[in-house]
């Protein structure tokens, strides 16, 4: 429901909702790291890993969807310039990977950016974005932090 509308505003709302749950999750991971700390306590003293789940954002997942007014007769004339501008973003190192959604609703990019605002600025300037025909939802991505669980257990 939260994800169905895609805009800057929605990104922030989504972030807030997710932040509401991250507290609980951080608690869960603290619990894990605490267990691990007990297991290792006699071996070596490590600072309490209160940041057990925290990883830096390294990429952005950008999910582009046609808006309601994007009928094929409207976007088809724009597509050639959209393709060229997208390739330019790739050549500038901003788009790392690109895909088309097979349900024909838009595209998926993995971007070499970590700031959603910067990504929005770039993506909204694409021809389909300028015409209000495509909107992007942005999800910051980082390393798969639960892999830390393997490090803790390997010391047992």
């Amino acid at each position: 429901m939260i994800r169905t509308k895609i805009s800057d505003t929605t990104h922030h709302i989504t972030g807030s909702v997710r932040l509401a749950s991250i507290g609980a999750v951080a608690a869960a991971l603290v619990a894990i790291s605490t267990t691990a700390s007990f297991a290792q306590a006699s071996a070596r003293a490590e600072p309490a890993a209160a940041s057990a789940l925290v990883v830096p954002a390294t990429k952005l997942l950008a999910i582009g969807s046609f808006t309601a007014k994007a009928t094929p007769d409207v976007w088809q004339p724009i597509l050639p310039s959209e393709v060229r501008e997208t390739v330019r973003l790739y050549l500038a190192g901003k788009i790392d990977q690109w895909f088309v959604k097979q349900d024909q609703s838009g595209v998926v990019f993995i971007m070499n950016l970590t700031d959603p605002k910067q990504a929005h600025d770039l993506l909204d300037k694409l021809p389909l974005g300028q015409a209000g025909l495509m909107e992007f939802q942005l999800i910051p991505l980082g390393p798969l932090s639960p892999l830390r669980a393997l490090l803790s257990e390997s010391t047992r």
Binding site: D103, L144, P146
Partner: protein
């Protein structure tokens, strides 16, 4: 989620005229979110098994890329599967999936077909 579930991000009725700009399905984007059942107390004991099963799927070439959502508790996978059903079958067997504590939204991905326009093969109208 059902592999047949509609994509909630589809805003518009897109007629099949786009068929020409869609290539084969090569990857599945899987966006995993914790369900209401996935309370911290419930997840903690399962997580080590979840991680191991995920690594096995990676080593088997099924999960090609994996990420953590840094603004929420969830994961994003890019999977080497050619249908959402195939990906769903793998993901529902993960421990958190079996326990009903994680749901995946699956989006079938294909090659950037519109690039064909740059090599003189514009999509049919």
């Amino acid at each position: 989620m059902s592999s047949q579930a509609t994509n909630p991000r589809v805003h518009a009725e897109i007629p099949p005229t786009l068929a020409a700009v869609v290539g084969p399905t090569t990857k599945i984007l899987a966006i995993g979110s914790v369900t209401a059942k996935g309370t911290p107390e419930a997840i903690v004991p399962v997580l080590p098994f979840e991680v191991r099963a995920t690594v096995r799927n990676h080593l088997a070439g099924k999960i090609e890329q994996w990420f953590f959502q840094t603004e929420g508790y969830g994961v994003v996978f890019i999977m080497n599967a050619t249908s959402t059903a195939e990906a769903h079958e793998l993901l529902e067997k993960l421990p958190l999936g079996v326990a009903g504590m994680m749901d995946f939204e699956l989006i079938a991905l294909g090659t950037m077909a519109p690039l064909a326009m740059l090599i003189g093969e514009p999509p049919r109208a």
